[in-house]
Point group: C2
Chain length 403, copies 2
């Protein structure tokens, strides 16, 4: 097999851990696989460099930041390659540039545009283990760029796509994807497999494990993604396309997002285009609107409810205030004490009654549902935050996820 | 003026010192100059990375070492550029690659083959301060290389040559070139100017300040080199071509090299090509032979005396042993307790009696001269090591260098 293995900052946090990664990589190689390794900076290193920059400026130039921050991954990649060579393996360390990772010109949050895998492929053909500095690429001007948060995961997934790897393993300190947060429901079970779409919906569950950007790219490039821990040999969770999951369970997991706020607009003036006006202005203010409900009251006025991340609440208020002042909206109210509980599963597509069970579970637990939103593979409910854990445990139980 | 300023590891040793460098650079810019800055890694950083590599391997691959070690200079260059921008200056940080520094493929001790100054020139034309990561370049395969010891000085000199800079200032913790080592002769004076050739001869004096590689390149590219301290505004020493020094003093300085050993070969067989044989074998063993004296004894056999750096003594013995075993040499002896005292000055070219004064100074101090070697601008004498300081002070006095 051709495998891409990505090790994050904590997995390469010190020299002993880098040695540990080297022996794990060597095991894959010994087992007959071709291996490309993608590494992050040693944990703490990037923060140290950011701290250095902030000593000089609150808003350092992004091009300079990229040159600065990309140094960390180069150090780890060089060291891991040296460790592998000392163990008798043939290996080569590559910068993002050498690995052929071409990005756009958006410094500190560049997007990968293209990968030219020629250097990696010829090294693999020579039997070498390729060790790539993650998180970085090079733009059309020849300048080094970095990929922003979760960038090394992205490097790994993009490389796996470009070289047609059979597997892309993302090693972290978490052993995989669970049916729900085990801190809330101790009966939560680790999933063997999950589809890309489910993983995307479970983002709030898996946020600590995988960024949506990486899952989206894996889906697009059809990369079999495995998330597992570097601290034991425990099997992880395979994230793959739906067709690869033989018997999809009705429901895969329960996700909880406490980072939501609800905005209620009462007495919205009844003129064409008013809703589009409001949401366009919110979009311009870069507010990330999630669920939206609109209904007409008996008196003919319209009420609009929507949710936003708590962090976007201030910006949302500014936008709404403008409409209130113009008299387009009679009254507005804000509620941060809510949460969103979601039931996710591709099985829903072919089974009825999944949503109904979610609603009845809420009713059985005397939890009032404020808002509902559904997709093909998801039912999301906004409820009072104090019921969050109760709802998650109730749903986990109702769909028998511990079985 | 167009000035290249190079700051070594101690000058950029911590964030405060980087800030100090930024204000020094800004002063040159404010004074109306165009400035290109070349920086080393923060002091201790390169040693830390070397230590990391040595944790894994006693003999790490050179390509990996270059990718590893080149990270340090990138960090400093980025930070200095950020600091300058925060002060309101327009600046840009460049890697060796971006600065157009092309080297050969000898990893960890690459030679600069060519500089394409286009990126630097267009940034300068835009009024920007250019901050270049020293010590690094890129080879024909697109891999990063490093230039070995003194590499950042070389980067600076080569860049100064490529952009036709008026001046290349090398900032260190030493204030310039002295007539002799002030620790031996407190009356030693700092020189205002010195020629390239004198500087090269004074290498043993200036070793802590400038590597011969940099001076040779400055001479070749006709770069006006200034060595000065970054810790005060004291003027440094200009190293330039002889024609630029109006009234060259007879003697510029006295150099002392204690790192020499003398090898005496007695009864060398009298056959054609024997000497060439011996010195070819020494060259193959990478022994750096300095002074050589050959003379015929009354009995018709030949004696050969030569000096080598103490570090090459073991290798020299192995070579000599081979000839002794074959019967080509009757006896060999070794003496590490010697030193080489040199009188250096371009004025010697046009003045007679300089060497005679050196010999009589030795005689006045009852110092026996073991070997003598002269060049157009230098008289070197090998004497017993115990007389080293006495000889230096005597010569410094005899040529009135404290005046």
């Amino acid at each position: 097999m051709l495998i891409v293995q990505k090790f994050g900052g904590t997995s390469v946090g010190d020299l002993e851990r880098i040695a540990n990664v080297a022996s794990r990589v060597s095991e894959s190689k010994k087992a007959g696989n071709d291996v490309v390794v993608v590494v992050s900076a040693m944990s703490g290193e990037t923060n140290k460099l950011v701290g250095y920059a902030e000593h000089f400026s609150k808003n350092p130039a992004r091009a300079e930041m990229d040159m600065l921050l990309s140094a960390g991954e180069r150090v780890t990649a060089s060291l891991l390659s040296i460790a592998l060579q000392e163990m008798g393996y043939s290996s080569v360390a590559m910068t993002g540039r050498k690995a052929g990772i071409r990005t756009d010109t958006h410094h500190t949050k560049a997007r990968i545009e293209d990968i030219n895998p020629q250097n990696m492929k010829s090294a693999i053909a020579q039997g070498k283990i390729v060790v790539v500095a993650g998180f970085q690429g090079v733009n059309e001007n020849g300048d080094v760029t970095t990929l922003g948060r979760g960038g090394s995961d992205l490097s790994a997934v993009a490389i796996a796509g470009a070289i047609n790897a059979d597997l892309c393993e993302i090693y972290t300190d978490v052993s995989g994807i669970y049916t729900t947060d085990p801190r809330i429901e101790p009966k939560a079970k680790k999933l063997d497999k999950i589809s890309y779409d489910e993983m995307l919906e479970l983002a709030s569950l898996g946020a600590k494990v995988l960024q949506n950007r990486s899952v989206e790219m894996a889906k697009k490039l059809n990369v079999n993604l495995v998330t597992r821990t570097s601290f034991s040999n425990e099997e992880g969770t395979l994230i793959t396309k739906e067709e690869n999951i033989m018997e999809a369970p009705l429901v895969s997991g329960i996700a909880l997002d406490k980072n939501q706020a609800r905005i209620s607009l009462m007495g919205v003036k009844d003129r064409p285009g008013i809703a589009s006006d409001i949401f366009n202005k919110l979009a311009s203010a870069e507010v990330n609107v999630d669920m939206i409900i609109q209904n007409k009251a008996h008196d003919g006025t319209t009420n609009i409810d929507f949710t936003v991340p708590v962090g976007d609440l201030q910006d949302s208020k500014s936008v709404v205030d403008g409409f209130v002042k113009k008299g387009d909206i009679n009254a507005d109210s804000y509620n941060e004490d809510i949460c969103k509980v979601s039931v996710v599963g591709v099985g829903m597509k072919s089974h009825t009654g999944v949503a109904a069970k979610a609603f009845s579970t809420m009713a059985d637990n005397n939890i009032n549902i404020n808002m509902i939103s559904t997709s093909e593979i998801k039912v999301s409910m906004v409820i009072d935050e104090k019921y969050a854990e109760l709802a998650v445990r109730g749903l986990h139980d109702a769909y028998e996820l511990d079985k």
